[in-house]
Symmetry: C2
Subunit: 326 residues, 2 copies
Amino acid sequence: MSQRETLIAATPAVNDAGMDAAMKGWFSEVSDEMWPGQAMSLKVEEVLFRGKSDFQDVMVFQSATYGKVLVLDGVIQCTERDEFSYQEMIAHLPLCSLHHEPKKVLVVGGGDGGVLREITRHRSVERLDIAEIDGVVIETAKKYFPGMSLGFDDPRVRVHVTDGIKWVGDAEAESYDAIIVDSSDPVGPAAVLFERDFFEKIHRALKPGGVVCTQGECVWLHAELIKDVLEMCKSIFVGGSVQYGFTTIPTYPSGQIGFVMCSKPDAAGKTVDFATPARPPPIAPEGSKLKPLRYYNAGVHAAAFVLPEFARAAVEPFVVKGTGQK
Amino acid sequence: MSQRETLIAATPAVNDAGMDAAMKGWFSEVSDEMWPGQAMSLKVEEVLFRGKSDFQDVMVFQSATYGKVLVLDGVIQCTERDEFSYQEMIAHLPLCSLHHEPKKVLVVGGGDGGVLREITRHRSVERLDIAEIDGVVIETAKKYFPGMSLGFDDPRVRVHVTDGIKWVGDAEAESYDAIIVDSSDPVGPAAVLFERDFFEKIHRALKPGGVVCTQGECVWLHAELIKDVLEMCKSIFVGGSVQYGFTTIPTYPSGQIGFVMCSKPDAAGKTVDFATPARPPPIAPEGSKLKPLRYYNAGVHAAAFVLPEFARAAVEPFVVKGTGQK
């Protein structure tokens, strides 16, 4: 078996992708591997799409109270009601921390378009690449989630339906100001996005002073995984900064999700302090169809790095704070 | 029917208190009234206790991954794995904001003992009353939740199994430094704890410079209820402060819960700014069996008042910031 086939085979059995595993007419998100013994359930009004791509099970349903819901391999990726939290934070935490204006940005994963939508708010961005492995996710988002997939409409966006690792590995060295990794959990096709090889390639592809922000799981559930990723990043982003922040979001397991953020030192040896916004919240280009920000503001940015005592104690040894610009 | 009977009758039907409403062997927290269309489920190893008190359905089960769980009327009150978040925050947010050392404190509800446990960390407290309406909850906690009910062991605690509203109404005027209302949701027996009459009695029972902190639901679910409570408090705590903070907690609906906090002006006309800790985290008395704090620290205190943009915009018109001490 190829590596990819192995990974798909390792996807946990989630009782027919969670459908009807629970109450009749409810979707339940069960994962013995990632969040054993707990499950978030959403009441289903209608299943709108169900199919198997080359990489994963893809489902869209109309929920009773969370709008439309995108599910991959039995795991909720986003709901129309609360997706803004994740999309705004994974985009603006890194981009508003940057010392310089971001011009060239890459999204790995993120086929629903929500992260693209948020990045397009930054007027300085001239080129926005997306490397999403699964074209079915993009097509599904365009059909069922216009509020997210409008991110694809921006003329600065270039879509590459390809393996994100290969894309980053093939990228010109020191070419991106920011790379945002909007991955699913480290079981199934996204497992490799939590591994050393990928982070080394990201490091190589970032400009001096550049930043990466990756989906970093939840301190209530995955403190050990988070520590491992931070430690790995610390050994790769030598001389840089490595930090962890989070956002609240009702439909992710345990109601929150974090982000691992790293920066390379700039020409003057300064590193990004992600916990301190260096620029104001983005204002979308004129004529844009984007709605105002609903989660992110400067206060929320700073507060995202303040962890509960148990989590602070767990991750602090692996954090390298940035110097900031001054 | 008496008011109380009416309230009990109004408790939503939760499919046999949620038991087996979902997957066989799982507990699901369903409430069409409070969080329609969503449910948190926990895998059950064994039901340890199930009974009906004069006020509510009481259940304790051993969960697969969250330790023992206390359920009232089908709603999760606490789990051994994450209860520290709620208990620490509802106690230390108000007590560490106070300008003066708290001496006399009242808990309304809180029959599991967890809030008592946290308050006993404050050495200045001389007297700690608790008015819990349901003696069965106290006995259940003492039997199944020693880690919380140890709060009852402190010699400063006086237990009153009585209606909290009556207790507060009968209390001497201006007698408490702090009142903490650890209530369940505003359906069932706790509904009256969200009403004007109760808050007026609290206001009367607080010393000048005194504070109240009440369970304040979740901004993702109950923004309208929160606005109503804040507006009501603003009209009662005239010249005082009225603020809203929150904590993350996986087993409460949507993964977080908030607190409404109010203060009366002190003799100099100063009011408590809850968002700014006025004293360091408490250090438990020597010889105490209490473990170190796991959620609360000074940074978390301040960050608890930084709300996502949608919530900030919703509640800000109803917030009255404190002057602080200086």
